[in-house]
Assembly symmetry: C2
Homo-oligomer: 195 residues x 2
Amino acid sequence: MRPEPLDAESIVSATEEVLRRHGPEKATVLDVARLLGVSHGSVYRHFPSKAALREAVIRRWLDEVEALATAARGDDSAPPERLRRLLTTVFAAKWAKAKDDPELFATFQKLVAGYSTVCSAHTAFVLEQIRAIVADGIDEGEFAAGEPETLARAVLDATCRFHDPLYAADWRATAELEAQAEAVVSLVLHGLCAR
Amino acid sequence: MRPEPLDAESIVSATEEVLRRHGPEKATVLDVARLLGVSHGSVYRHFPSKAALREAVIRRWLDEVEALATAARGDDSAPPERLRRLLTTVFAAKWAKAKDDPELFATFQKLVAGYSTVCSAHTAFVLEQIRAIVADGIDEGEFAAGEPETLARAVLDATCRFHDPLYAADWRATAELEAQAEAVVSLVLHGLCAR
DNA sequence: GAAATGACAGATAACAATAATTGTCATTCA
DNA sequence: TGAATGACAATTATTGTTATCTGTCATTTC
């Protein structure tokens, strides 16, 4: 029995803690219940499955990333600058997580590999952010004419090496990585711009 | 005892056959020796290890891919056209192998994951082909000025979703994939071109 | 005597038996 | 009465055992 009533938020926090300590391979629902001082049945009252628990943890982190991305965008500058900031912010958030919180990042990687809706929703979010900026750029005449959906998808695809967790193993040497990301982003922005 | 003397080439062919039948997880050196009708010790006379055997199989396939790429390049056309042909030829070769020869492709994926020199040499080859075309394009004034090495690397990175075996799981829907590859290649070519 | 063999030690994989975890739900508690 | 529990069946992981494979090398074969 615990003093305060059990709520979803504290279960998510406990899950995060357990994942960080044991990693996605070893972390169990029983570990989470133990940390909270409740039975595992109580955890299942708030979450339908172990997978849902992990998705909630990752969704919370992705919410932060998306908030960061929205903030970094800054609607005052020109589309190329906005797109560059959006991309580099998303890259940096992923790189930092992979480096500083490897177990949670590994959890994220597993969810992506398992086609979790949380992850595809995040991709859809980033894609939509790119699309909006591209559409703005085309309207303002800075970017060449084209279908914003197709172009946004091309921008996302062209930069996958820097944001897709599938490539996290290559995110070791930060200086080199930054230079390579910069080269691709510049190439893509140049490709978008009207001449 | 077999009629003809045992040579490296037939060992590679037998290994290819065994890999195709059993897949990289199950294929053993003993299987190869059995298929050849020799003892596994004889195989080790020609190849130092199981890994070397698999590398030889993949190297033989990559040699074909590289020959295809060289042929498709065609030195008569303009750099943008040449680069497009080089890229689409390499993409198509990988897509076809993944689809039509999945066990050998899985072997390739394992080698890539294991940082095999055979695979990094192939990457170096493609990178150099791109670099040469980019350098030509800059010389001819079709491409904007820049460091050919950096630009070539950016082109390779920007197209990784279409040639890196890490992404093979996404190579299912061919029509969609071709359209996405086309969008990225066009964006990249537009990015390279001088204005 | 060059090529092939097969016995061998160490490493790896397959297997079966056992233990732990997941998810459900009738019961208990406050 | 609504939240929490823990017994339970089904699934999944772990362990210890056995079998197979890898790579070497002294011996054999032609």
